[in-house]
C-alpha cells in the first residue's frame, strides 16, 4: 500500500516518455502531476520537473523506480512499432517489458494502469463491421504477424484487469495517430507518391495526437476502467485524404505491392511490412461511442483538421 500512503506526493509514471507522443503527454501532465518518465532514449527536451530514468524496462533495476518513486498511476506508451526491428527484439521489448510493468504494478499496489494499445489490433479485414466496437475479436494478427505482440500486450492488460480488479486498468485503442509522431501512417503520407491498391479505396479514420493525450488524461480520473476506442469525428476515403494532403497517389495492384515489399524486406529499405498493404485495401474503423459515453471523450479535432495537421507536418520537414 506504499503508493497510496504517499497521498498527494505520489506521481504518474510514464513509460516511453521520450517519444513524440510521450513528450506531448508530459507537457500537459507535469502542470498538475508529479511525472516520472522511463525511456532508454535521451530526454533533454523533457520539462525540467520531470524525473527521467534512462533505463530498459526489462532490466531488474527498473523495479527500484516503482518501489521508490511513489506512483499513483502508470501510463504505458513504451511500445515498439518499428517494422525493421527483428521479431524477437520487438516481442521482447513489447511483451517482456510490459509483463515487468504489470508485475511491478501488482507488487507495489499501484491503483491505476493506462495502456496505449492500438486500433490496429482489430485488423483491416473485408468483413469488418462498419464500426468496430471494443468487444470485437482482435484479428489483426491473423494477417499481420507484426501485430501479434501488440495483441499479446493488449490481452495481458485485459487479463490483468480481470485478475486484479483493485487496479483500474484502462486500455485505449486509438486509430491512426497523426501529428508530429513518427508512425506508419505519417511515413506513408511522407512518401512522394503514396501507393494505393488498384480497385480499392477504404474509408479511413484518423486521430490527432493532442486528442490521444486528452483521452489519456481523462483515463487517469479515479474510478474509471475499461477498454475504449479513440478516433476523431468523421471518416473519408483514402483517395480523398491523400488529395487533401496534397499527394498524388500511384495506383498499383495489391499483389505487386505485397511482392515488392516482401522482396525488399531484407534490404530494410522501407518502413512497411507487406501485411500492412491490407490497410490500403480494407477498412478498420472504430466505434467510439463508449469513449464518448463513459470516458467523456469528445475529440477537439475532426478528420479535416487531422488531415490539415498531416499536411503541415510533412510540408515543414526538409
Amino acid at each position: 500500500m506504499k503508493a497510496r500512503r504517499q497521498g498527494a506526493r505520489a506521481g504518474v509514471l510514464v513509460t516511453g516518455v521520450c517519444g513524440r507522443l510521450g513528450l506531448q503527454l508530459v507537457r500537459s501532465l507535469h502542470r498538475t502531476e508529479k511525472v516520472i518518465g522511463i525511456d532508454t532514449r535521451e530526454g533533454s527536451v523533457l520539462p525540467r520537473d520531470v524525473t527521467h530514468h534512462r533505463i530498459d524496462m526489462r532490466r531488474r533495476r527498473s523495479r527500484d523506480i516503482f518501489r521508490r518513486a511513489g506512483v499513483r498511476a502508470v501510463i504505458h506508451l513504451g511500445i515498439m512499432h518499428d517494422p525493421r526491428a527483428s521479431a524477437a527484439e520487438r516481442h521482447s521489448w513489447n511483451v517482456d517489458a510490459f509483463s515487468s510493468v504489470l508485475e511491478f504494478i501488482r507488487d507495489y499496489h499501484i491503483p491505476k494502469l493506462v495502456l496505449l494499445s492500438t486500433g490496429a489490433v482489430y485488423g483491416p479485414l473485408p468483413d469488418n463491421p462498419q464500426f468496430i466496437a471494443e468487444d470485437h475479436t482482435l484479428k489483426g494478427g491473423a494477417r499481420d504477424p507484426q501485430l501479434g505482440d501488440l495483441i499479446e500486450v493488449d490481452m495481458l492488460a485485459q487479463s490483468y484487469f480481470w485478475q486484479n480488479p483493485e487496479c483500474e486498468t484502462v486500455i485505449l485503442r486509438p486509430t491512426h495517430i497523426v501529428g508530429t509522431v513518427r508512425n506508419g501512417v505519417m511515413e506513408y503520407a511522407r512518401l512522394e507518391r503514396p501507393p494505393m491498391a488498384l480497385g480499392y479505396d477504404p474509408l479511413i479514420q484518423l486521430v490527432h495526437e493532442k486528442d490521444v493525450v486528452k483521452a489519456i488524461m481523462l483515463a487517469l480520473r479515479p474510478g474509471l476502467a475499461g477498454i475504449f476506442n479513440v478516433a476523431a469525428g468523421g471518416q473519408m476515403p483514402l483517395s480523398r485524404v491523400l488529395r487533401l494532403v496534397g499527394k498524388d497517389p500511384v495506383h498499383v495492384p495489391s499483389g505487386i505491392l505485397r511482392t515488392a515489399l516482401r522482396l525488399s524486406r531484407g534490404l530494410k529499405a522501407f518502413e512497411f511490412h507487406e501485411a500492412q498493404v491490407d490497410y490500403i485495401l480494407f477498412p478498420c474503423m472504430l466505434d467510439t461511442g463508449r469513449a464518448s459515453r463513459t470516458l467523456g471523450f469528445e475529440p477537439d479535432h475532426d478528420v479535416f483538421s487531422c488531415i490539415e495537421e498531416v499536411r503541415c507536418a510533412i510540408s515543414e520537414e526538409p
Binding site: 473485408p126 468483413d127 463491421p129 462498419q130 464500426f131 480497385g199 480499392y200
Partner: protein, 187 residues
C-alpha cells in the same frame, strides 16, 4: 421511399466476398451499402435506417434455372434482429432476375479451384458474342404489407424459424402472383 416526408436511403447488405473484390467494393461502399454483418444491421436499425436483406444469402444466386423462383432456405438472423429492434418486415418479391442470367450449370469443381462454393454458368456465356451481357428482361417488383412480429430474439431456432417461414411463404405468394400476372418475360 424517397417520396416520404423524411426520405431514407435503402441500405442493402452485401456478402463479404464482394467486399474483397476490386472496384466492386468501392462501388458498393460509395452507394451507401454495407457488409452483411449483424453489427452493421444492428447499428443501422438503431439509427432508424431502412435495411434491405437477402435472407437466402448466397444460396439465392447459386441456383440453376430449373429452380428459378423457388426460394432456398432463409437464415434466421434477420428475424432475430427485427424482433430485437421491434421493426416491421416488408416482404419484397422480384420477378425478372432469374431470366436475366439463366444459369444452366453449376460448375462446382471450377468454383472450388477459385475458392468459391459454387459457380453458376449463365446461358449467355456459352453463346457466341454474348459474354456476360444481361438479357433485357423486365423487372416486376411486388411489395407486401409490413409484417410485425413479437417475441424473444433469443428464442430457440424452431420458434424463430416459424416466424421466418411466414415471411418466406408471403414472399413466395407474391412471387407466384407476379408470375401469374406476367404476360411476357421481356415486356
Amino acid at each position: 421511399m424517397l417520396d416520404a416526408p423524411e426520405p431514407r436511403l435503402i441500405r442493402s447488405m452485401y456478402d463479404k466476398w464482394a467486399a474483397a473484390q476490386p472496384w466492386v467494393n468501392i462501388f458498393l461502399q460509395r452507394v451507401g451499402q454495407v457488409v452483411g454483418r449483424p453489427e452493421n444491421l444492428d447499428l443501422l436499425l438503431d439509427r432508424g435506417e431502412v435495411v434491405l436483406v437477402f435472407p437466402e444469402g448466397v444460396k439465392g444466386i447459386q441456383k440453376t434455372f430449373q429452380k428459378a423462383y423457388q426460394m432456398s432456405e432463409f437464415g434466421l438472423g434477420f428475424m432475430r434482429l427485427a424482433l430485437a429492434h421491434s421493426c416491421p418486415i416488408v416482404p419484397v418479391a422480384v420477378v425478372g432476375t432469374e431470366e436475366q442470367y439463366p444459369a444452366v450449370w453449376d460448375a462446382k469443381r471450377l468454383a472450388r479451384l477459385v475458392g468459391l462454393e459454387s459457380l453458376p454458368i449463365p446461358l449467355q456465356t456459352l453463346l457466341p458474342f454474348m459474354g456476360f451481357m444481361p438479357l433485357p428482361t423486365k423487372y416486376r417488383i411486388s411489395m407486401g404489407k409490413p409484417m410485425h412480429f413479437d417475441g424473444d430474439p433469443d428464442d430457440e431456432d424452431h420458434v424463430v424459424g416459424e416466424k421466418v417461414w411466414v415471411v418466406k411463404h408471403t414472399i413466395q405468394l407474391l412471387l407466384d402472383k407476379a408470375l401469374r400476372e406476367r404476360r411476357h418475360v421481356f415486356w
